[in-house]
Amino acid sequence: MFRPATFRVLLSPSRSSCFKHIRTSGFKHIRGPLTLQSRALSCQRYQTGPIDSDPADDWNAFDVLIPDLDYPKLNGEVSKQLGHQYLSRVPNVPEILKPKREVHGIMYGRNCRILYTLITTYENRSYYVHWLYDCGSPFTYLSYEVSLNP
């Protein structure tokens, strides 16, 4: 005997609040570029919880998928195109260490990743480091190879 499928809607007291939460979070991320003023206003207007953390305010919560770039590519193909070996020491010559007005980079791969080589200095030690410019990232991050490995 054919019996049409029935769908049960499970009603829970938190259902309406869940939908509301999703809806507000949807609005929240479709907003203009963050300034200090707008960020302060958004913090007052939208309260963030443990589920809906705002990546623009918490630098430790930010994440992005970049599957087409990794250390071997940065060390090989990207270094060839940019003209500097990745993480090599910059000679201690004032002419080279002098800040440049223009820095030229490349658009790499199918996804046109914007990459620059910038002389990166920390406590009198300078390295050639390849940086990926991500206009979706409000913060600057250093990779494990640069910061952690001895």
């Binding site: 990794d70 820095v103 991500d134 600057t140 250093l142 494990y144």
Partner: protein, 76 residues
């Protein structure tokens, strides 16, 4: 690498092309551990102009502050 055997602080300042920027190590659970990300904070704070040319597949950063400093030093 830059910290050697010392513990890595959660936030630290580094110098990029003569401009200081507050930087963080990539979060432990992130998917970009291999990559150094230049964020919009560096671009906005230093008034950098980023231009991409889809024809030549080249891109450039123009540093406004360096331009001003060199002009002043030339005048002096």
């Amino acid at each position: 690498m830059i910290f050697g055997d010392n513990p890595v602080p959660q936030r630290f300042n580094i110098n990029l092309n003569g401009h200081t920027v507050a930087t963080a190590p990539a979060p432990a659970e992130s998917h970009f551990k291999d990559i150094n990300i230049l964020g919009t904070d560096f671009i906005l704070l230093n008034k950098v102009r980023a231009i991409q040319d889809g024809n030549s597949m080249k891109t450039s950063l123009f540093f406004h502050k360096v331009h001003q400093e060199t002009e002043k030093s030339e005048v002096v």
